[in-house]
Symmetry: C2
Subunit: 480 residues, 2 copies
């Protein structure tokens, strides 16, 4: 703490600018989440966080103490300014306060990205700006930490609760503005769900690699849509010479899969290498025959293939010092339609929080859009064949995902009710879904907790990701 104070002093001395600094403040037996205003090497104002979020990905009550100290407004050149820390804005309690005119409200945030979150931020900010007839500055972190993505998108609101300055999403930016100047409302660009989602995944991936010291990344291409989208995002995000895709066929892989994987790689300008697993599969199956011959063929043989691919991709990760990017999606992971230590291998599970139907939508969106910040400068990078063929794990002949699962349009809706909205099975059946489907899916979710427990980390992009947000036990006998 002392070293830190000295640092602040050195950095700010002789500067008239007031710096706002977010920092944990430690006192005897407690730490508060605080904001300091620093000028000329001195702390001139302190405000501590009052409301500590402890739901979803948040665990602030584990680490911080909340304060009940009423903070005086900061007075600067006869302007009354209120400083709030993140969650402190997410309450309606202010309507109980004496209504007084403020000149400025400043909210500092590390607000994790999720689809649709921006509207909520805007709505909370707007209510407060209007109530206090005050301008409001909403500042949000840009970056990521493990599974959390911080999407920036800071803004300035006028006292009517309208955004007058909108800063960039997913990248750092700075702006200067004069309070009370007659800032005309600029046209704010509408936010496209899939563009946002795509950029969030790009930012999460890039930051995870940078912060954990990976220059290279690689993945297994199956010819299916999940690995296709994963490669597209990779290729749009990092330099092509640092990406390597591998096609690892067995005798169950179709010729189309190979063709599709190759044309995708060509479209995005990424080298692809083929390493057949057929000889390894054969060797393992033969080797285990003395024990296995008494038993029927079952999912074991399928898992062996998936695990051999995992083994090769991890060997490549070790040898090339390259991040293996896991390609599974949220729908699969939710129902356990994936092989532990097989296709679940990897350091970063890029689509972990993206339902299969959204994987399709993202591919379609990307095929129609090439934005300035994409490294791949063309549309239609994902071959139409990948988008139109029926999903299959290709772990035995004529296998289709729909052999075991309802169509993804149905599955994802049921999953979204069960997971994202935390609804019970009765509610969903009332909505018109087939009872057997709903019960089966709920059971699959419960029975696959052990797989998710050991799954790789991946970016949260929905309001209920399958890791920090949703904490369910492996051992579970409860019913919904």
């Amino acid at each position: 703490m002392e070293i830190f104070k000295q640092k602040i002093k050195n950095l700010t001395k002789n500067k008239k600018t007031i710096f706002a600094l977010s920092i944990p403040l430690s006192k005897i037996n407690e730490i508060t989440n605080a904001l300091l205003l620093v000028q000329s090497g001195k702390i001139i104002y302190t405000v501590q966080k009052k409301i500590l979020p402890n739901y979803g990905v948040f665990d602030e009550k584990r680490y911080f103490s909340s304060t009940k100290i009423k903070t005086e407004y900061f007075n600067y050149r006869n302007k009354k300014i209120e400083f709030l820390i993140c969650e402190d804005m997410w309450t309606k309690d202010f309507t109980k306060k004496k209504k007084e005119k403020l000149d400025l409200i400043v909210v500092i945030n590390a607000s994790p990205f999720e689809i649709g979150k921006f509207k909520l931020r805007q709505s909370h900010a707007s209510k407060r700006a209007k109530y206090f007839k005050s301008s409001l500055v909403y500042v949000n972190l840009v970056g990521s930490q493990d599974d959390l993505i911080f999407d920036g998108g800071s803004f300035v609101m006028d006292k009517f609760g309208k955004i007058v300055i909108q800063e960039k999403f997913f990248e750092e930016s700075e702006t200067h503005f004069i309070l009370d100047s007659k800032t005309k409302k600029k046209q704010i660009k509408k936010i496209n769900k899939f563009e946002n989602l795509y950029r969030a995944l790009m930012l999460g991936l890039k930051n995870y690699m940078t912060n954990n010291g990976f220059r290279c990344a690689h993945l297994g291409l199956s010819g299916g849509i999940d690995s296709a989208l994963t490669l597209a995002i990779l290729a749009d995000t990092i330099d092509s010479e640092n990406i390597h895709s591998f096609y690892l066929p067995s005798k169950f892989s179709s010729n189309d899969s190979k063709k599709d994987a190759e044309s995708l790689s060509k479209n995005v300008g990424i080298k692809i290498s083929e390493i057949s697993i057929e000889i390894l599969r054969n060797t393992v199956i033969k080797h285990l025959n003395p024990i296995f011959k008494k038993f029927k063929e079952d999912v074991t043989e399928e898992n062996i293939q998936s695990r051999l691919r995992g083994l090769i991709l991890m060997a490549l990760s070790n040898k090339l010092d390259s991040l293996l990017v896991t390609t599974g999606n949220k729908s699969e992971l939710a129902v356990g339609y994936s092989t532990l230590y097989g296709d679940m291998c990897g350091g970063y599970s890029l689509l972990k929080d993206v339902y299969k139907t959204d994987v399709f939508e993202l591919c379609r969106w990307r095929n129609k859009n090439t934005l300035s910040y994409f490294k791949v400068k063309r549309n239609n990078i994902i071959p139409e064949e990948i988008l139109t063929k029926e999903p299959s794990a290709e772990l035995k002949y004529n296998q289709k995902d729909s052999d075991l699962l309802p169509p993804y349009e149905i599955l994802d809706k049921i999953l979204s009710y069960l997971i994202d909205e935390n609804r019970d099975v009765k509610f969903i059946i009332k909505k018109g879904f087939i009872k057997d489907d709903v019960m089966k899916i709920w059971k699959m979710i419960k029975n696959s907790e052990f797989k998710r427990y050991q799954s790789a980390i991946g970016p949260k992009v929905s309001k209920m990701s399958l890791s920090l947000d949703r904490r369910f036990p492996i051992t579970n006998k409860f019913d919904l």
Copy 2:
């Protein structure tokens, strides 16, 4: 809730006995952790938990609201009785209360086992009994839930804070006693650390298997001490015909390892099968040669062996519907001296929270003790050779754990400071450990968060297990 109330009614009607029932109580927008007294189908008394633990493995503030309602004592036949729920006993706040004589304090608990925890329970209970000059009944759950073990050991204390009735640990039991009778203090059996630890591991394993529907378990025997202890515990816990051990040698495995694995299996009466991985190792290495020949041999080749073993053991898990028990210990897992998707494969990581030095102690203790509840009815089941040879992963010739790590006696002490006591490196260096050792180990801990993130679940037995207790980010640049 209504169904539940009806159930209580039916179960208790026409019964004069008062039943104490632990239950979550839901009201609008909040759930409290509560205790009900039920008699003849009616709830006659309710008390809600006041202090919600939110540290270590506890996350009660996520789920429960605490109450500030002061509960009147329960009055029964002119006796004043106080009911407390678990953490409500773990505070000194009662000394601020008006000191009044109580007749009985009843504390209901689901207190997770950890080495040394019993003394703390006893100390808190004793202070309270003495302060209120009251008898005290401490009731604790027996069983487990995922990584938590509940060790029972309920007791009755007199008003002088002495235990007068001590119930069994690790198994259900019941007792009847008359308050105010002149119960003489019985001789309480001293608790042996290693007996307790051994039994905790047995209970955790047994419950995990039962509750998750596993009848059979298997493991890979390396000839080393971790898998030896794991097999000993398995063999003492479940029927021998439901256990299978596998020896999976490569060309780097020594003849001694085979001999040791075999004599261990013989000692505990468990069948052992040998499945060499050598042909598979060879095939994989040759298969990857076109890519790998440009590179030097490194940890990749070692990991391939470990992952082939994982692949075979998981195939056996799938085919035989058997729980693969992971054999790694806390020291290895802490520094990342283990292969992700290799020896880390498995459904239950039995020694996950047991340091290597304690693995040795447990083996020595078991060799000297055969207790009535052990399935294996003899001492000296772990061959002396396993206890005395130098630990080695045997993934290359002449490999020793000490090539990369300080001796386990040193390592475990440093780990215990860094992890269990959450000390900084400066403190540990001051204690006389070599700076380079301490810094290296701290770095290894930080750099292996990604492995632990994907590790199998295993029983918590220390005050700081590596899963729920200790929540560190994968992406970390901080220093201690």
